[in-house]
Structures are given as structure tokens and as C-alpha cells.
Symmetry: C2
Subunit: 413 residues, 2 copies
């Protein structure tokens, strides 16, 4: 007998037939003797519809109202799953974010969970009830307004609920059957990982793997929530085991590199002939930070005459136009002559805790990419990953090259 | 300067363009110096979609979960209208039922409002904010669950909010421009009423006129809320005045009959040769009442031999099958031999407070209907209305006959 949180995303609850399939997964776990809380997303497409209406109503919408609107989709699926479970003879009740409550800060549309009162859910377990929880949302206690946790926020709802009720594990059901060494649509020989460490998963999610919301992995890591990524399209009577995200210590055979991620959501900006004097970097990057634009890779190259420098950096693709506008407005004060940009770039990353103890891991990649004629525009490294910025046209080639280089290809079928 | 509640139904908020039109109506009233609370329904079609999903999920759904699901549609329109108003420079905020709160009893899916705390709304007025309220819903305080007020419940939300905040008037915007002497689709010479008394409106709504939820008229009458029925499709810059529902004393020229209503949602059940002994009526009608089936017209005719009686009564069309099943289950104990039924019947009613002081009003109708060859299956009368049950095929003829008989036809254009 264990306590369990299960999370199902939008494609898994897209219609009543699929919700019935979800109910069968839940029932299997209850019949195995588990107390179960289920976190659900909105039916696929619903959140996009609600977001589009907000934008149509006013381009600069109040995020408090946006949250009130877009959080409604999850209420529908939570109620429908409770009804479906009851129809199968399984006691269940739905919980809206404010009813539990799931408390958050006031950062509307990307709020962070500050506390969850699990008492109501546990009392329901005592009555034999499955708790069906509307994901993606919370309550800002001071204002009494509904908040949302950002795209993919239901993953974070699930992991945070698991931490709050002391769940033995959190199963994230999705449309893939686990975490892969890289995107199987690009590399047919990608392998499903049985286990991956919190740290690696955090980097993979941050660097473009879309399987989990980054914040959910942080919460899982901080609270040590054993989290499985599993497929909701498995036969409910005979499901696969998925990928376990867990402490590094639980992983016996550690590869040097665990996975290759890529992100197309990148843009590069290059400032040429910037005066090379103290404080110039601050003058450039502080205004971007104040506009909530995350600058990632930064390269500074001193020009021939030493009085000037070229500065290249990347920003998220969605922030590219805004970043250019901010810099254009500061041309004179910064003495900027040329601002160049590129959006047809991609960041390819290799992740693995084994990098800590192995030297020269990245260097091998630079050589392999050069051998394929792939030009590296920028590089960043950290303890357990390195990333290269390259032309988008080489994405697939670069991912496949690194996947093979680090021995990640599965044996031929 | 006045305090005002405005209510807009589903067709008035069916898309963003129409929500913008609603915002213009609201803005007009704010610019005229009023404090405004707006109550909105779900976009037309949305509630039906949600109800259909609940039924598909399980035919016998938990009404608490049903309420959680179907109340979500109003959250969307409330947020979108707030965003739209803000986009026009008009401060506004949305209020969900539980946020105000609008407290109700625990009768899920047809809950009654037990109290509304208007303090938050009034504080918003103090900040120059329009309050945009999700209609149709409330909070059952003991359980903390979301409740709904039944179909058309947003009308009741609006009138109850008006009573709670001491509004000077409540404007119900709908897809018609007021209350008519009868359904204009049946009688082209139907006239719009400038004023109608609470009592008459209550009867008209109860007897089939769909313009307002019955409960909303009760609340308006009890609290003396001056309520206008107006068209949301009027030019926001130059709206019509609609129909005022008010105290009888405010209506100067009172007709004997004010309106003709009809209801197709009727079914007739006849029990033949029931033993004519004390308690038999209770044996028949108590089980129906316990099953929440409203019995309306009842006629008892003693048979020739005096030991038996025929009992005819009507029930709402939606409850017909259930009522027959209940009676079938009691055939032996009640000694029922023949149970007959008919669903192709219609109830036509004439309403007017003038009936109190005029004798023979109904008798004139019986004669006029007989002259047209319309057979009357049952009759009920009360102080300010009478109803006849007739074959559905004669609906239009009967309505037109009575409309003309009581002088309600407008002058030829």
C-alpha cells in the first residue's frame, strides 16, 4: 500500500473516450492498494483557444484576468474524470486549485507554488476517494485571485502535490513512454532511459527536451520526489514502466553523456565595434534583464585595434524582436554602430553527470562537429553539460553526430 | 449617479465581437455616472457542450461534479469581458462565484442563493472598477463546493446581486427587446409591454414565457428590485427602453389580461377506474412528489357507479417517463387497471392582475376556444391567471384566439 500521484496531460484527456482510458489507469492503481491523487490538464487545444480569446479581447491583457480565464479548462477535465471514475464504481471528487488550496505567489501566468494544504486530500483517502485535482493553477492568498503556473504547469502541480502529501511516487503520464537519449523523431536509434538523475533531467528540460516542465523537475529534486515519465497510451491493464527520475546514487551504470537535447527557440544578436571600456557589458545586459529577457550564451571578442570589442549573445526566440528594439533605443548612449541578428540558429547540448569526472568530453564534440563541416557560433559549458550554437540547417546532423559519438545509439533492431 | 446591475446572456457574449458590444453598453452606463456590476452567462453553446460531456462520462453523474464542470463557462466570459473593458480604458475585474462569495444551499444543479457579501464589489466601485460577475453559480459554504442555480440561473444571480448591493435597477439584456403580450413568433401582432407587474411576470415565466428564469422574478419581487428586460442587440449609443418589471402600483393603465403564455413541456397522465376511497390521492401523488416530480393540473371525475374515479393530471414533459414508471410499480397496491398518457399536449395560459376584479374572464375563453373547435382537456385557475390543456396541434390557433379576445393585438402597421 502506497500513496501515489498520477498526472495526465492534454492529449491524454482530449475527449471522454480518453478520459475513460485515464480512469482505467487510475483504477488499476487503486485496486493495487494505493491511495491516489490525479492531476489533470485541460483537454488538448482548450488552453490555446482560451489564450487566443484573451489576446483577441485585448492585446495587452491583465494577467490576473488571463489566469482566471485559462485556468478554467482544467476544472472541466477534473470534474469529468471524477464523474467517469464514479461511473466505474470508484469514489472520487474533483478539487479546484483554490479549494485545496494550492497557494502561490502573485506572479500571474507564471506563479510559483508556495504551499499546499494536503489535509483535505488525505481526508478523502480516508473515505476511499480518489482526489482529482485541476492542474496548472493555484490561489494567491493575499488577493484571493486565481493564478496559473505557466505552460506545462500541471507537471509542477503534480510533483508539488506529491511532495505535500508525502507520496511514494509521482507518475507523469504523457504521449511518449519515457525520457529518451534524444528526440526519437530525429534519431531513430534513440534509446529510452530506464533512469535519469534529477540534475540531468533538469538540464535536459532546460535545454529543450519538452517532456517535463523545468520547474517540476526542480521541485522533484528539492523534495526528492521519485518521478516516473510513462505513456498514457499503454494498455491500462499492462502498462510499461517508463523512465524513473531519481537521485544520482540510484543509478548504477552511469554514462558520461546521458542525453542530447536541442532547442530551436534561440536567437543570436551580435554587437560590432562596441567601445571596450569598463561597465559596457552592464550597460547592455541590465536593460535586457529589466525587460525579463534571459540572455544565455555570451561571447566577447576583442577587435584588432584593442579599443573595440564584438559581443555576441543569445536570447529566447520569442524575445528577439523586443531585445533588438531595446538595443536600438540605446544605440547612441552605447556607441553601437552595427547590430546584427540571426534567428535561424539552434542550440545543441549534451548532458551527463559523468562529465564531472571525465575531462575533454566537450572537446571531442567540437572535433566531431568540425569533421562534419558544422560551424560553431558559440559555446557554453557547465559542470554536467555543454551547449553549442549552430546554424539551424545542421540540427539533425549535429544531434545524430553527438548521439553516436557518446555511444548512445541503441543496437540495430 | 446610481448603482446598476447589468446582465448579459449567452447569445450576447457568444464571441469576442459581441463581448466588445457588451462592453460598449457597460461603458455607456459608467460614463452616465453609474457604479456598474455586470453578470454574464457562458458563451452560447458552451454550457450545452459541458452538459453533454458530463452525460457522456456517466449517465448518472454526481451533481456536485456536474456543477464544477458546467460553472466553468461563466468564468471564461467574466474574464474576457474584464479584459475587454480594460482594453477600452475602463478599470474592471472579474469575480467568480466563490470569490464574492455568492452563498447557496447545497441543492446542486438547482441551488438557491442564501446570501451575497457585496462588500468586495462595493470596494471595487470605490476604486472606479466595474465588477464583472460569473453568473449561474455560487458556493455551498459547508462543503466548499461550487453550485449552480439551474438553467437561466444568471438572471437570478443578477437580481440577487442587485438586491445585495442595493442597486437602483437591474437590466437584463437579452436577444429580445422586452416582454411581449405573447410569443411574437406565433402572433405577429404581439405588443411589447412597457411595464408588467412582478406578479404577472412571475406567472408568465412559470407558464412558459422564456424571457426570465422564474426564480429571478421571485427574488426581484421579494426585494423590490426594479428590473428591465432590454435588448443587447440595440445600438449601445442609443438603446431602447425595454420592459420594466415593477410593483403593480406603478402601472397606470392595467388591462384585464396582460399576456398569453404557452408551454409545450407538458405531459398528461390519466388513471382510469381508481378506487374512490379516502387516501387514494395521497397514495398516488406522494410518491411522485418524493421523486421531485411536480404535478400541475389535477382533475378527478367520478365514474358512473360511484365506487371508482378517473384521475387526470399533468407533469413536466421531461418527467413523464419517470412518472409512468413510478405508477407502474404501484399498479397492484393502488389497484390501477389502466394508465393512459399523452405528450402531444400544450398548456395555454392567460395572465393579468385585472382578473382579480373582473368576473367571467376565463369563461369567455372557454367559449372562444370551443367556437374554434378546440377541445379543453383540463383547466386550472388562480387569482391572476387561468390555464387550459389542449392538443398541441391547436397551440398557435388557441394563443392567437385568446390574444385577440382580450384586446392585446397591436394596431395594424
Amino acid at each position: 500500500m502506497a500513496r501515489l500521484v498520477m498526472k495526465f496531460g492534454g492529449t491524454s484527456v482530449a475527449n471522454i473516450e480518453r478520459i475513460r482510458n485515464v480512469a482505467l489507469h487510475v483504477k488499476r492503481e487503486v485496486e493495487a492498494g494505493n491511495d491516489v491523487a490525479v492531476v489533470v490538464s485541460a483537454m488538448s487545444g482548450k488552453t490555446n483557444e482560451l489564450v487566443a480569446w484573451c489576446r483577441e479581447a485585448a492585446p495587452l491583457y491583465d494577467p490576473r484576468e488571463y489566469d482566471a480565464v485559462v485556468a478554467s479548462g482544467e476544472l472541466v477535465t477534473a470534474g469529468l474524470l471524477a464523474i467517469t471514475l464514479q461511473g466505474m464504481g470508484q469514489p472520487a471528487r474533483s478539487w479546484q486549485g483554490w479549494q485545496i488550496p494550492i497557494l502561490t505567489d502573485g506572479a500571474h501566468s507564471s506563479a510559483r507554488i508556495t504551499g499546499i494544504d494536503g489535509a483535505g486530500l488525505l481526508a478523502g483517502f480516508g473515505r476511499g476517494e480518489v482526489a482529482v485535482i485541476a492542474g496548472f493553477q493555484g490561489l494567491h492568498e493575499e488577493s484571493g485571485r486565481v493564478t496559473t503556473l505557466g505552460r506545462g504547469g500541471s507537471d509542477t502541480s503534480a510533483v508539488a502535490v506529491a511532495a505535500a502529501i508525502g507520496a511514494d511516487r509521482c507518475d507523469i503520464y504523457t504521449d511518449v513512454d519515457g525520457v529518451y537519449t534524444t528526440d526519437p523523431r530525429i534519431v531513430s536509434r534513440a534509446r529510452r532511459l530506464d533512469r535519469v538523475s534529477f540534475e540531468e533531467m533538469l538540464e535536459m528540460a532546460s535545454l529543450g527536451a519538452k517532456v517535463l516542465q523545468v520547474r517540476s523537475v526542480e521541485v522533484a529534486m528539492v523534495h526528492g520526489v521519485r518521478t516516473y515519465v510513462r505513456s498514457s497510451f499503454d494498455d491500462p491493464a499492462n502498462p510499461g514502466s517508463g523512465t524513473l527520475i531519481c537521485d544520482e546514487e540510484e543509478i548504477l551504470e552511469q554514462q558520461v553523456v546521458t542525453g542530447i537535447a536541442y532547442s530551436r527557440d534561440e536567437a543570436q544578436i551580435t554587437l560590432r565595434r562596441v567601445a571596450d571600456k569598463p561597465g559596457v557589458a552592464a550597460d547592455i545586459f541590465v536593460p535586457l534583464a529589466e525587460a525579463n529577457i534571459n540572455v544565455d550564451m555570451i561571447i566577447q571578442v576583442v577587435s584588432g585595434d584593442n579599443a573595440y570589442t564584438d559581443i555576441t549573445f543569445t536570447v529566447p526566440g520569442a524575445d528577439y524582436e523586443r531585445a533588438r528594439k531595446i538595443l536600438d533605443g540605446r544605440r547612441d548612449s552605447l556607441g553601437l554602430t552595427e547590430i546584427e541578428g540571426a534567428t535561424d540558429v539552434v542550440k545543441v547540448s549534451a548532458i551527463g553527470v559523468g562529465m564531472r569526472s571525465h575531462a575533454g568530453v566537450a572537446a571531442r564534440a567540437f572535433r566531431a562537429l568540425a569533421d562534419k563541416g558544422i560551424n560553431i557560433r558559440a559555446i557554453t559549458t557547465s559542470e554536467i553539460k555543454f551547449s553549442v550554437l549552430i546554424d539551424a540547417a545542421y540540427t539533425e546532423l549535429a544531434v545524430r553526430t553527438l548521439h553516436t559519438l557518446y555511444g548512445l545509439d541503441k543496437a540495430e533492431g
